[in-house]
Point group: none
Chain length 193, copies 4
Amino acid sequence: MPRTPEQFEKIREKMRKQIMNAALELFANEGYYTTSISKIAKAAGISKGLMYNYFDSKEELVMSLLKEGLNKLAELFDPNKDGVLTRDEFAFFVEKSFDAVIENPTYWRLYFSIMMQVGIYDMVKEMYASILKDTMQLLVDYYQKRGVKDPLGEALLFGAVMDGITMNYLLNPEMFPLEEFKQKVIDKFGYKN
Amino acid sequence: MPRTPEQFEKIREKMRKQIMNAALELFANEGYYTTSISKIAKAAGISKGLMYNYFDSKEELVMSLLKEGLNKLAELFDPNKDGVLTRDEFAFFVEKSFDAVIENPTYWRLYFSIMMQVGIYDMVKEMYASILKDTMQLLVDYYQKRGVKDPLGEALLFGAVMDGITMNYLLNPEMFPLEEFKQKVIDKFGYKN
Amino acid sequence: MPRTPEQFEKIREKMRKQIMNAALELFANEGYYTTSISKIAKAAGISKGLMYNYFDSKEELVMSLLKEGLNKLAELFDPNKDGVLTRDEFAFFVEKSFDAVIENPTYWRLYFSIMMQVGIYDMVKEMYASILKDTMQLLVDYYQKRGVKDPLGEALLFGAVMDGITMNYLLNPEMFPLEEFKQKVIDKFGYKN
Amino acid sequence: MPRTPEQFEKIREKMRKQIMNAALELFANEGYYTTSISKIAKAAGISKGLMYNYFDSKEELVMSLLKEGLNKLAELFDPNKDGVLTRDEFAFFVEKSFDAVIENPTYWRLYFSIMMQVGIYDMVKEMYASILKDTMQLLVDYYQKRGVKDPLGEALLFGAVMDGITMNYLLNPEMFPLEEFKQKVIDKFGYKN
DNA sequence: CATGAATGAGTCTTCATTCAT
DNA sequence: TATGAATGAAGACTCATTCAT
């Protein structure tokens, strides 16, 4: 008997995931340009042609990956959505952020490598910017409330620090004690009171 | 009358520079993989074939660029070579490092994008690591002398912060006030005393 | 409806033949190095890229051609596989060998030209050597049984003669009466009794 | 003081030899197509440009090599120029021919590899044919005088045998006892009487 | 005469994408 | 839906040859 539309949708969704998983793994480990569609298809256990049934192009595929990661990231911020960041939420955010990197280094490696590729990926930057804008405001308020002199500067610095730590960890996981850095960052950028 | 060896050497040196300048610009702005040898040759105003009279391969070209930048970088560290870092030298180093980025963002964009490329460029990582090792030791000593609890951790954190700031500046120069960050970093990681 | 694996196999087999035929013709008539992949593709009526769907490289292509011919050649020797060569089988072998050359001069021209190419093709030589070893032994026994003084030398000489005749025929088919040479060779190297 | 025209001529001749020697070695050992002009120039200890002062093209260079070898070969035939071949002269010719191969295998390897290359070969073919024509006639007369049934066929066969032996020796010098074959060939194709 | 920088056409090869089945 | 054969544009690289000095 024929499948219901819902079943079809489920199958499609599952296949999409399958392809994206394979692609993420390969892109992150072997690079975007050195990973061919053929390889991805093989890793995903499907034919090259079918790939294009799910993604219009290689570029769309990588964009989907980035978008997906981005959405996960967005959920980390201000979980209770009340527009105010408490000291505990700040600490929680730092911890969660690093945990995310530890749990899924592959994705973040992809993110950074793409971010540094100039040209095509300005689009991604916009996506990230729009997500980060709200969080930025939250942080600025946070620092202002604590009497920090240059709240915007401090917020930017904090973001840069998170990026720098993440990047260094990804480049050299076994040499870089990410776990220990959680507290260091919270102490240095959380402003107790 | 044939050219003298010196004349040939001069031609070679000049052309090498010409090619490397064109390549650096393109690699940094459009990425390593999306920049073709054709494009570089055209930008350098020469024929494709001539490129290979100066560099054995595209990879050797990019490596030469990185090596060159590396050597410039190396000169920044511990200028008086006495094996000890003073507070002033620390400040000087921070300022100089950021100045280097401001003056030559192209190179640093290349550096970061290559660093995040997987696979081929482990060699570059080793080169950088060997250069940075000494500086790392200098920093550890610096923090130890100032009674910082976890000197190695602090040194690593400092490095990560420098990287993060640089990266954010490169991605968004007009939004990221690198100049103002000099003092911030010195205050936060210089440990007065 | 997708094609069945069998259909795909059929397509592949047919196309492989098509490419190999075109390549054999060109390699043999214009030489390995002077025949470009482009030319082969055009002669086979396909795109350049498709070539690489069937053969990993130009070298693999020529190797496949040689292997194929080799296998055909192998079937000529000692057809009844009893390990002994009779006088009739000897005569039969000479005749068949020359017939093979007459019927498929293209292949043999390729074979000789590759054999004289230095460097890469030592591998081919090994393949041929391993095939010819058994036949050589057969011949040595043959001559020994007939009381020839230096059986190994005679066998080697016979081989050289076959090569020389073949080569001369290939270089100048209309001037070289290969057909008449069958009897001559049989008389001179067959040792009646 | 300026050199005399004769001195210039001498220098030119010497340089030509130098280049030809280097080229012969490389062509024979690494193949015509895989040997670049650059390599030859370096091996000859001169610049690429100067090469073209002595040879108009790579092709002219290889042709010169072949011509030179051809002339040496021609001297082997009918040394006393009386238009008649004696039994001793026949034997002498066989011995001398093989000695030439033993003494200068490099040249002969080149000769054979070029001979099997189509295209270029046709040009050389005529040169060889014209040289060999006289010798051929000599041989035909030789066999006719000795009552051989098919003198022309026998002469052709003899030529093919010489080629075959030479080729086998060149391909596998240590396995192929060329020295011993002298007598064998003389016995088999010299027709005592 | 002598050099090697410079050219440009040509080579092999790769790969995202399309399409007949 | 699913396959992989087929395409074609592009890429890295080579090399005989020319030419300014």
